[in-house]
């Protein structure tokens, strides 16, 4: 398109958004779509959280009081599916939408119409997923890993669940394609790959992981569908199939998925810590290489989720060694963050508190991860509350703490308003204390022999379950404060400066707060 036509087309528009509801339905703007993703994710966080409250209420004391065992299993299954696919992943895509164009000096995402579509699939997918609770036979109850043969016993909900997963997968893959196209094609002049902010780097790697593994999940669940309705027996032993093959395929998706849920969090923390330490990130290039190594290793460790299925010793040894290796690049990242703080000039605003909370608590989750990698010990840990404690440390105090830190860090930029710092600090401390009361005792429960996914337990586990439940209710309530802070910051508050934080570096801070509707209509010069 020639220079003249561009000018003609643009002269008659004010570049502002359309008015009313249709703005949100038809939007192709990366900021609007980012906002939709983030608000959707917040809603799902509360729905998934409500399910967790049901779980903790039933486990408050021994005996069955609140829900029946089948409904309990529906809650554990849907809590996980909603938190993973509905809360954490859309939150990261929302952050990518808002931030990647602003960080690389682009006006918008590369594929804006697809962007609209990839968001608008999600409300339908999750409405369908949640509606299964009211169907004959209830919602899926075979765990989020939906292992056959058990999952084939699901009632009417079964095909709806499969279709919902397909839609979530399509949405993720389209989001990932958009991220890659944007990063590889729309960087401002001078923004070389090795100058990109770490959040952009980790998202680029995450996007490749998504494209690689979401189709694998789609394949696995489609085989489940044909096993149930079309007479195939991919996973049915009686028909010559193999239930363990499903687990191999699922975890070939599932383990990279774990890093899809944490790599963008690494990126966020790598943005926040240098700002508040007032010192550049230590070891930028080693951070990039470490992220890439983690992504590569994630493809060759899947069977550590399956040590107890009866693999040959050689297989167990391979997956044990490969899994242990992940500790090296992950360790490099933690050391780099600590070195970034070292001899800095630190202040502790809410985003920094969440980033520091992330470093400590994620590392604790990493330690239990290393313990789980040791195959002989895993024969004891596997499928116990020790595993539950482990993945909630890496996902709640890891991924979700990073997302909340990101929300506090960039909310002033997005809205033009400062959030209430006192309330933000209250939210951090309440969350940090209660999340540890919630999940730390679960390590003890698992080691003492409590299996996961049980609705009732032997009385020896009563005390720690009660402590954990109290922590759970308090953590859940604390998150209402987060919703209040976010909404009140959107509605008003002290005016934020363009730079917001005095140690902030990067292109997004050169824009006004809130930024113009099309981020960079002229590409900035990057030195």
């Amino acid at each position: 398109m020639s220079e003249a036509t561009t000018h003609d087309a643009h002269d008659h528009h004010d570049h502002g958004p359309a008015k009313g509801l249709m703005r949100w339905v038809t939007t192709t703007n990366h900021k609007d779509i980012g906002t939709l993703y983030l608000l959707f994710s917040l809603l799902m966080f509360f729905i998934g959280g409500a399910m967790a409250m049901v779980i903790r209420a039933e486990l408050f004391e021994p005996g069955m009081q609140v829900v029946n065992p089948h409904f309990f299993n529906q809650m554990t299954t849907n809590h996980a599916l909603i938190m993973i696919f509905g809360a954490v992943m859309p939150a990261f895509v929302g952050l990518a939408n808002w931030l990647i164009p602003m960080m690389i000096g682009a006006p918008d995402m590369a594929l804006p119409r697809m962007n609209n579509w990839s968001f608008w699939i999600l409300p339908f997918a999750f409405t369908m997923m949640l509606s299964t609770i009211f169907m004959d036979g209830g919602a899926p109850a075979a765990g989020w890993t939906i292992y056959p043969p058990l999952v084939l016993q699901t009632g009417d909900a079964f095909p709806f669940m499969i279709f919902a997963i397909h839609m979530m997968g399509i949405s993720s893959v389209m989001g990932a394609i958009n991220v890659i196209a944007t990063i590889l094609n729309m960087r401002a002049p001078g923004m070389t790959l090795m100058k990109m902010p770490l959040f952009v780097w980790t998202w680029l790697i995450t996007a490749y992981l998504l494209i690689a593994v979401m189709p694998v999940l789609a394949g696995a669940v489609t085989m489940l569908l044909t096993d149930k309705y079309f007479g195939t027996s991919f996973f049915t032993a009686a028909g010559g199939g193999d239930p363990v093959m499903y687990q191999h395929i699922f975890w070939f998706f599932g383990h990279p998925e774990v890093y899809i849920l944490i790599l963008p969090a690494f990126g966020i923390v790598s943005q926040i810590i240098p700002t508040f330490a007032r010192k550049p990130l230590f070891g930028y290039s080693s951070m990039v290489y470490a992220s890439a190594s983690i992504a590569f290793l994630s493809f060759i460790v899947w069977a550590h989720h399956m040590f107890t299925v009866g693999m040959p010793v050689a297989g167990e040894l391979f997956f044990m060694y490969a899994t242990m290796l992940i500790a090296v690049p992950t360790g490099v990242k933690v050391f780099n963050w600590v070195s970034t703080m070292w001899k800095g000039s630190m202040t502790f605003e809410t985003p920094m508190l969440f980033a520091l909370g992330f470093v400590v608590l994620f590392t604790i989750g990493g330690f239990s991860g290393l313990m789980l990698a040791i195959a002989p010990s895993d024969f004891q840990y596997h499928d116990t509350y020790f595993v539950v404690a482990h993945f909630h440390y890496v996902l709640v105090t890891g991924a979700i703490f990073a997302i909340m830190g990101a929300a506090y860090y960039w909310l002033p930029k997005w809205t033009g308003h400062m959030y209430n710092e006192t309330l933000g600090k209250w939210h951090f401390w309440l969350s940090t204390i209660t999340v540890n009361i919630l999940f730390f005792p679960q390590h003890f429960l698992g080691l003492a022999g409590m299996p996961r996914r049980i609705p009732d337990y032997s009385v020896q586990f009563a005390e720690f379950n009660m402590i954990s439940s109290i922590g759970g209710f308090a953590f859940g309530l604390s998150q209402l404060l987060f919703a209040y802070i976010v909404i009140s910051t959107i509605r008003g508050g002290a005016k934020a400066t363009d730079k917001v934080w005095d140690g902030a570096e990067g292109l997004e801070w050169t824009l006004s707060s809130p930024p113009p509707y099309h981020s960079f209509s002229e590409a900035p010069e990057v030195k």
Partner: protein, 282 residues
């Protein structure tokens, strides 16, 4: 380090980490993995503690540096930011040192794993089959087989709002009608499978769990020297009553075991096998 000292040390570490001051009741509440009653479970326990201590040591160094920095390098105490941001030497060191630590973990782990998986030369074999929601044990050499289900008292108490206090039920949810009986000091091989969905056979005191998968026959073994009763549960989600299919293993001296086998055979001759299966399925 002596055994007692190490037990004291880990209790102190774990107890210190506890958020509530449960203090003296540590053993009662079960904070840590059991040492179990077999050579294998002891080995797994020691491996677990080794990795745990290594993690604690790394945590002290990393978090120590971090909190020192948070304390000393604050703007509010007048810290000026330095500007260093890379050091190839440091990066190489903190790649190689963790790698070396990992190798020191991998060696004992490999030994333990190979021992755990060595099911050769068993003295006897028992076939374990998982059902929704009970276990079936088959002593192939003796012609003895039976189902093992949650005991009546637990089953009554675990019903929705049963009004029965679980604390009043002995071994609530960890008791069965028919125990799996093993002779002490014999290497027992288990052949583990399932009839409907995947289950997992787990008795913590034996030191391992193994999935029971339809169409697969998994192998595992144990050798318990100490007579006693050891309890466990199904460890793989297998449907609504997954939490209600416990495992109880009773280890007897050889003489008592032989008498038990004889008694089982006598009962089996009185009841026809069909009747036993039908009764069990109810």
């Amino acid at each position: 380090m002596s055994q007692n000292k190490s037990v004291w040390l880990h209790r102190a570490l774990l107890g210190g980490a506890m958020l509530l001051g449960a203090g003296g009741a540590v053993a009662e509440y079960g904070l840590n993995m059991t040492q179990g009653v077999t050579e294998v479970s002891g080995e797994v326990y020691r491996l677990h503690m080794l990795i745990f201590y290594i993690c604690c040591a790394i945590a002290v160094v990393v978090f120590g540096a971090m909190f020192y920095s948070i304390w000393k390098h604050r703007k509010s105490v007048g810290a000026q930011a330095a500007n260093f941001h890379e050091s190839t030497t440091v990066e190489i060191i903190w790649t190689i040192v963790p790698f070396a630590i990992l190798i020191s973990m991998a060696i004992p782990a490999t030994k333990a794993l190979i021992n755990l998986e060595d099911t050769s030369d068993p003295d006897m074999t028992i076939k374990v089959t998982g059902y929704q929601w009970m276990w079936h044990y088959d002593y192939a050499d003796e012609g003895v087989s039976f189902f093992s289900r949650l005991d009546e008292k637990s089953n009554a108490a675990r019903q929705m709002n049963s009004g029965i206090d679980p604390a009043s039920v002995e071994d609530y949810l960890l008791n069965v009608d028919n125990r799996l009986v093993l002779p002490a000091g014999k290497k027992v091989r288990f052949l583990i499978t399932a009839n409907d969905v995947i289950h997992s056979w787990w008795v913590p005191s034996l030191g391992w769990k193994k999935d029971a998968i339809p169409g697969y026959i998994n192998e595992a073994w144990t050798k318990v020297e100490q007579p006693g009763v050891y309890r466990g549960q199904c460890a793989e989600l297998c449907g609504k009553d997954h939490g209600f299919m416990p495992i109880v293993v009773e280890v007897m001296e050889q003489g008592a075991y032989d008498a038990w086998v004889a008694a089982q055979k006598a009962t089996a001759q009185n009841d026809s096998p069909v009747a036993t299966v039908v009764a069990a399925a109810n």
